[in-house]
């Protein structure tokens, strides 16, 4: 039975997998039809006919993960690391009969590589579905507070 705590634990666990670079375990959290989305506009509605920073399916996320370890991935020499500082997730929906589970989490994300350290602030919206007795990510949406700023490389996952 999915409770609000199950959802919260799931979101903390997801951040932990990213921070500890357990990429494969992170990918396993996604539903086969799952998407990872970083909009480029305020309260954006459409990921396809409006511009986004990222809108990726599982295939593309796998490419990214595989690339991070590539022998000729020069932008990962030296490697990046990341850190998520999460506020308690707000449960937006936990409807076990309809199977709708949504949460919104305010957080600060830090990505570092070599001597460089960049910090981003935003909100993650998780749309989750129950598969078997586990939750899977249908959509992880990251709304950055400064989505319209000119960033340098963002190489890992927010």
């Amino acid at each position: 039975m999915i409770s609000e705590k199950t959802i919260t634990d799931f979101i903390y666990r997801e951040a932990e997998l990213l921070d500890t670079m357990q990429w494969q375990a992170w990918l396993d959290l996604f539903h086969p039809e799952g998407r990872y989305w970083i909009p480029l506009e305020w309260q954006q509605q459409d990921p396809v006919l409006q511009p986004s920073l990222m809108y990726e399916d599982l295939l593309l996320l796998k490419v990214r993960v595989e690339r991070l370890a590539g022998e000729r991935t020069f932008s990962q020499k030296p490697k990046s690391r990341c850190h998520h500082l999460l506020q308690a997730p707000q449960i937006v929906a936990c409807d076990t009969t309809a199977g709708i589970f949504k949460a919104r989490t305010s957080y600060i994300y830090t990505e570092t590589r070599g001597d460089m350290l960049e910090r981003y602030s935003g909100w993650a919206s998780h749309d989750l579905v129950e598969v078997g007795d586990a939750l899977k990510i249908k959509l992880k949406r990251v709304d950055l507070v400064n989505f319209d700023a000119p960033f340098g490389n963002i190489q890992l996952f927010m």
């Binding site: 511009p51 920073l53 990222m54 490419v63 595989e66 690339r67 000729r72 020069f74 932008s75 700023a149």
Partner: protein
Amino acid sequence: MTKYGRNAHAIAALVREAEVHRDVYVDPEIFELEMEHLFPNSWVYVGHASQLSKPGDFITANIGRQPVLASRHSDGSIHVFYNRCPHKGVKIASEPCGSTGKFFRCPYHAWSFKTDGSLLAIPLKKGYEGTGFGDTQASEGLSKVRNVVIYRDFIFARLNDDGVSFEDYFGESLSTIDNMVDRSPEGKLAVEATPIRYMHTCNWKMLVENQTDTCHPMVAHESSAGTAVRVWKREQGDSTEVPMAVQLYGPFMSPYEFYEQSGIRIWPNGHGHTGVANSIHSNYQDIPGYLHQMVAAYGETRAHEILGEIRHNTVYFPNIMVKGAVQILRNFVPIAVDKTLVESWVYRLVGAPDKLYERALMYNRFINAPTSIVGHDDLEMYERAQEGLKSNGNHWVNLRRLYESHEEQDVTAVINGTSERQMRNQFYAWAKFMTMDMDKRVEAAE
């Protein structure tokens, strides 16, 4: 101490027959001189007329270091001004775009200006009576950029009053813009999306050169495009349909022979393009209904002619690159000698299927975004170059690939696609537009 200021000879000496001195990338004085001479002497992209659809709409931009403002006037005309109040210099508009209504109003003392720049009103006007105000430049309102040309809705401006005319500057190279516009069944493009912005800690010219550097994709992008192709081969199962994403990534891994044969065309004044015979955009799947629309609009022959022109990257010297086949323009905005803002714009082909726009937006975020793995590959190389050029081991950057002695300058030619000739072509133009107004300045100083 200035080494290069007002010294046309010293600047010209930075470009040898097939080498350039590292100072063009790393010397802050050279960067300042680019802002002072190169950009004002060149025709620079300001924006697209579709961003100014109604009277009162405006956009802001920079040409070199100069802030400019373009607006649509009540009679439909478009004007470009220096973005500065004639009173005490306050920037009139501070947003990238917006609508000002019937007039601009300076936020400091409320001088106001019509959307053609002329002075509309000053509070307490009486205070200027008998002061000779009418003889000052301020009484004319916003200072105009006089040389503005709107070519098929692309707004270009040249800041210096004297210089090469728009027609002579771009010549035949405008065929790439023509082709991009003609790809709309209605012959019209529209900017609907905000640009993707990507900050690069490198000199702006590294980006421009990279647009016709065809010997790097299979090497530098093995990590991104190569991985994408590999993962797809493994995961595709019995799927016969190649996802749009893989169609976009795959061709980056084309072998040297592909790029050799696809060719480069150079034009006078530093313009040129890759992908003459074919390009990495040649084999995208057809978008249902699109060809039909094009044939209906242009007729069978012309429609195929338009769609058969699949250029890869067209460099418009000094700092934009246009990709007609996927409706993208990248503006390499110089910020400092080692800092460049890249703005990647997508145009919508008016009247064409949504799927085409979807593909253009996808290409833009796959290749041109700070979250793009292909972008990561390239930026890593530019940053390493910016660092490496500090080395005293060798002061020269080598651009000798397929060099022929006594290469003609300012000509049109089609050459082997792996040549570094377009980079040489750019540096020849660079030296020309850097020094174009310098002799005069030397005389004036004497």
